[in-house]
């Protein structure tokens, strides 16, 4: 009989600080940090692919180091501090670049009905750099790439290209946006100002005012 022969039951109580918030949960002894993040805490930004520590899609920071969360038992993370992609924007390390207006890009309201359009107040410099270089294609590996890059920049704030290649060697990208991902990390590590979002979307800042709700005809006219 293996551990899997038992259904997961409320198991061992652990404490974790996840994205700055203390979480107390009971976890099955055989459950990984990945399972707890995704299934128990519903932090689904961390992705699941190979489950053997080869693809890097599940990379998170545990006490400041990047780990494959599929290879860490949740109980091993007891007392630890975890940062997932959802917490990346809030990190103090990179100077944040404010997004214009409310930051609302075009949203995907029809995909599944459950997408959180969550008004992200700002993105971290690394995230902005990923957008600026077009590093995210399908996007599935990107949370892991970002967390590995974050760990790399903490260790090595100004890496060479070779150091970036090595630092991201454990994160597979099948769209193979490696060039743009590497460029993004180097850009984030540089002193270069990141272009404002409006410039990146093809609109010189200020050339286009936002939709004017006052201009919208009053629809409250009594129906006939």
């Amino acid at each position: 009989m293996t551990a899997f022969d038992r259904p997961a039951q409320a198991g061992i109580p652990i404490e974790l600080t996840v994205n700055g918030r203390m979480r107390r949960i009971a976890v099955a002894p055989h459950h990984t940090l990945l399972e707890v993040l995704r299934d128990d805490l519903r932090l689904t930004g961390t992705k699941e692919c190979c489950l053997v520590g080869e693809c890097g899609a599940c990379t998170v920071l545990l006490d400041g180091r990047s780990v494959d969360s599929c290879l860490v038992l949740a109980v091993e993370a007891q007392g630890g501090t975890v940062v997932t992609v959802e917490g990346l924007a809030g990190l103090a390390r990179p100077p944040d670049v404010a997004r214009p207006r409310d930051g609302a890009g075009p949203r995907d309201e029809g995909r599944d009905g459950t997408v959180d359009v969550g008004a992200e107040p700002s993105l971290g410099r690394l995230q902005r750099a990923f957008l600026a270089t077009g590093a995210a294609q399908c996007g599935f590996c990107i949370p892991g790439q970002l967390m590995s890059a974050e760990a790399l920049l903490r260790r090595t704030p100004h890496p060479t290209r070779a150091q970036v290649e090595e630092g991201l060697a454990g994160n597979l990208c099948r769209c193979a946006g490696y060039e743009q991902i590497i460029e993004a990390v180097l850009l984030a590590a540089s002193d270069e100002p990141l272009p404002a979002q409006s410039a990146l979307t093809g609109h010189p800042a200020g050339s286009a005012a936002g939709p004017d709700p006052a201009a919208v005809p009053d629809a409250s006219v009594a129906p006939q």
């Binding site: 022969d5 038992r6 259904p7 997961a8 055989h30 299934d39 961390t46 992705k47 699941e48 692919c49 190979c50 053997v52 080869e54 693809c55 990346l88 207006r101 890009g105 075009p106 995907d108 029809g110 995909r111 599944d112 997408v115 969550g118 992200e120 993105l123 995230q127 990923f130 957008l131 077009g134 995210a136 399908c138 996007g139 599935f140 590996c141 949370p143 991201l168 060697a169 994160n171 597979l172 990208c173 099948r174 769209c175 193979a176 946006g177 490696y178 060039e179 743009q180 979307t201 093809g202 609109h203 010189p204 286009a208 939709p211 709700p213 201009a215 919208v216 005809p217 009053d218 006219v221």
Partner: protein
């Protein structure tokens, strides 16, 4: 071109992708869903004697062990080309990984525990897992002739044989002064999307709701409706953006099984494949291609005679179409007076092969372009010059009855040569190689799009395309923003829900910028026409006095933004202006492929490599890739697609292949034993460029372009290895082992059988 089209605007959907907010199928919370785990047997082919669910059902939380006995009889079958694939194996399994049962349980743990305890009694049967074995006269039949009624080939493992020919081959053979001949093999490789396939089915009133990482939600709707005997309107398919697809998510896999389970259990059921299970769900067809080409001494192509056998799997999926399409253009993008092509799809007891970026063409191009490079050497003509001598001009027919050459292809070849300093002496110890690739785009297509211009001038686009990383969402937003005069930030693109978006045939063949792009453009034109009517009414002028062009309304000397006319025109009740756009590529029943090419993808790739003679290791030092894209609507995304395709192609060129044992089981399932390129495997430098002449059928002259840069990599690299070492290798991948063996076999390629790993 302007601020929107032709600019590398940021990806629409980008912020979600860098914050973790993008929800893929496995990320969705489906209330009350049972978790499903598949049960397989450890054999390539087996007769199922008995399935005993007792122990599995005793696991707390296990609700059901679903087998063929729970399905209608006869077993319902499905497939995009032939209805050959059973919803669940019945009586026997036909490839390693063919599920025989599925366990549904309250938790993933319980489902896994239950699946491990389902006792399957089976007898291993002899399996055919290579082309030679499948074509042997006494080979066991992979498919029961009963599921191929009326098929004259049903007594063999050949599913279809496709023949194409033009010109007088006999006469051409007599005219040829040099004939170059060779056989080339291409291994089984897998799509390896980082998002493993995920599926959910849920009872939904008097119908069913599906969630799938599928590329073609409307195909899936049809399959499920047909199997469950439901009206299309009662099947709602949600298709969130796939986390990489590459063709492997085009067609239904386990969705039918889940749909039957959900109906039986009255509850939602959810299946997320492991990466290993994706290897057993999708792959590319392996091939052996024999090429014989005749030339005049001056390098003029005289004839091509090609025989291609593709090892497809146990079920056809869309694989036979990849064979038909790959074989059809296999003579290459050249003026070839006489051609004979035979392409066979050969069934085997292996994972069903399916669409994979390039769709049957990389296998052919590996062979034919390698043959072209060998010919250049024999003829004493520079490989660059040999191509230029035989490429057609734009507008010239090169496949009789099909779309003429639709680009200045020679420009792409010259540009690639220039980028890699082809004419300069190469550094010591390095070799250079060059090859071209051609792929026929979609042969038929139908896309609708609805575009709503809302009362404040913002826009909602509805499109049935799947944005799987190629950036379709961004392209559609760019088009509508430009045409209707709104900033990109005001555009929302809704996709992936058959209850919301109008019909789209499919997301494949690099079609979406062209076919759906035109549908979006046409919808915008309808909106513009309504704005024109409004302006004429408001200004009390004749409509003829009003023009609407790219967001601006012109009335005589006055120029107004569309939004000004819109707000006044809608009046006190508000409302919106709705356009419905359609884009069709009609079928042509007499055409061998059922339709001519909507466009061609053309790419030239050139590489410079270093070969380590001691280890057989290759290093691609320089990699240049040039695609004819018509118009790069978003150069940033075009670069992402070109370089991404290039790196993916380096995977099958240098390292990827399934390894089977002597009884046909896959021995390298998963990420540890099957390597794909990492950030450490990149060319030292990679550069991409595009040829833009606005000569495509898509919006603003665009062509589809997402596959081209993968097509010619293998022959370019092999030519560079030949150039560096003098060794010709005709089998992929060019792994260190293979290269080392070739280098140490006095220049002749040592045959390595990937299919059989000696114990």
């Amino acid at each position: 071109m302007n601020g929107l089209i032709g600019s590398p605007v940021e990806r629409v959907g980008g912020p979600e992708r860098v914050t973790g907010a993008q929800a893929y199928v496995a990320d969705l919370a489906i209330a009350g869903a049972l978790q499903v785990k598949l049960v397989t047997v450890d054999a390539a082919r087996a007769r199922i004697i008995r399935i005993d669910p007792t122990a599995a059902l005793a696991v707390p939380g296990v609700r059901c062990v679903f087998t063929d006995a729970d399905l209608p009889h006869p077993m319902p079958r499905f497939g995009p080309q032939f209805r050959d694939r059973p919803v669940l194996a019945t009586g026997q399994t036909t490839y390693h990984g063919d599920p025989v049962a599925a366990v549904a349980a309250e938790t993933a743990d319980a489902a896994a525990a239950g699946a491990a305890l389902v006792h399957v009694e089976y007898e291993t049967l002899p399996a055919v897992t290579s082309i030679a074995a499948a074509l042997a006269p006494d080979a066991p039949l992979v498919q029961d002739p009963a599921i191929r009624p009326g098929d004259p080939l049903s007594g063999s493992n050949v599913l279809r044989e496709h023949q194409y020919a033009w010109g007088d081959l006999e006469k051409a053979e007599a005219e040829a002064e040099v004939v170059v001949e060779g056989a080339y093999t291409f291994p089984m490789v897998t799509q390896f999307a980082i998002e493993p396939h995920a599926f959910v089915a849920a009872p939904n009133g008097d119908g069913i709701a599906m969630w799938s990482s599928i590329q073609h939600p409307y195909w899936l709707q049809r399959v499920i409706a047909s199997l469950l005997e439901l009206p299309l309107a009662k099947v709602r398919v949600h298709a969130p953006d796939p986390g990489g697809a590459f063709g492997g998510k085009q067609h239904a896999k386990y969705e039918p099984l889940l749909a039957f389970m959900a109906r039986r259990l009255g509850r939602p059921v959810r299946l997320v494949l492991s990466l290993e299970e994706t290897f057993q769900a999708v792959r590319r067809g392996a091939s052996e291609v024999h090429v014989r080409t005749g030339f005049r001494r001056d390098g003029t192509l005289v004839f091509r005679d090609i025989e291609a056998n593709y090892l497809i799997g146990a079920y056809a999926d869309i694989a036979d179409r990849t064979v038909a399409k790959g074989a059809y253009t296999s003579a290459g993008p050249y003026r070839t007076p006489a051609v004979r092509i035979v392409g066979r799809s050969v069934l085997s007891n292996t994972v069903p092969s399916t669409a994979f970026r390039g769709f049957g063409n990389p296998q052919q191009i590996w062979a034919v372009e390698s043959n072209m490079n060998e010919a250049a050497e024999l003829l004493g003509i520079d490989p660059l010059e040999l191509r230029l001598r035989n490429l057609p001009e734009r507008g010239e027919t090169f496949i009789p009855g099909d779309t003429p050459a639709d680009g200045r292809w020679a420009d792409a070849v010259r540009r690639a040569a220039e980028m890699i300093d082809w004419q300069q002496p190469r550094p010591a110890g390095r070799g250079r190689g060059l090859a071209v690739g051609l792929k026929s785009g979609p042969t038929t297509g139908l896309s609708y799009s609805t575009v709503r211009l809302l009362a404040d001038g913002s826009i909602v686009i509805y499109a049935g395309t799947s944005d799987m990383g190629q950036g379709a969402r961004t392209i559609f937003a760019q088009i509508a923003a430009l045409e209707l005069g709104a900033p990109l930030e005001w555009v929302t693109v809704v996709m992936g829900d058959t209850a919301a978006v109008p019909y789209d045939q499919q997301t494949s063949a690099s079609r979406s910028s062209v076919l759906m792009g035109n549908a979006v453009l046409n919808a915008c034109r309808q909106v513009q026409a309504r704005i024109r009517e409004m302006a004429a009414r408001l200004e009390a002028v004749d409509e003829a006095a009003v023009t609407v062009d790219r967001g601006t309304v012109t009335i005589g000397e006055r120029r107004l933004p569309i939004r000004d006319v819109l707000v006044r025109g809608l009046g006190r009740l508000g409302g919106e202006v709705i356009g419905l756009g359609e884009s069709r590529k009609e079928a042509e029943p007499d055409h061998p492929l059922g339709g001519t090419a909507a466009f061609y993808e053309f790419n030239c790739t050139a590489v410079e490599v270093e070969v380590d003679r001691a280890t057989g290791d290759l290093r691609v030092v320089r990699h240049v890739t040039v695609s004819d894209v018509g118009r790069a609507l978003n150069p940033g995304q075009v670069r992402g697609q070109d370089e991404g395709a290039a790196i993916m192609g380096l995977g099958h060129t240098l390292m990827e292949h399934y390894i089977l044992d002597e009884v046909g089981r896959i021995r390298n399932l998963g990420a540890i034993d099957y390597r794909i390129p990492t950030s450490m495997d990149l060319p030292t430098s990679i550069e991409s460029d595009v040829i833009e002449n606005g000569d495509g059928p898509g919006p603003y002259g665009a062509k589809g372009m997402s596959e081209g840069a993968l097509l010619p990599i293998s022959p370019a690299v092999a030519a560079a290895v030949r150039d560096a070492t003098g060794t010709i290798i005709r089998d992929l991948p060019l792994s260190p082992e293979r290269v080392w063996r070739a280098l140490h076999a006095d220049g002749s390629a040592a045959p390595i059988r990937d299919e059989v790993l000696a114990r």
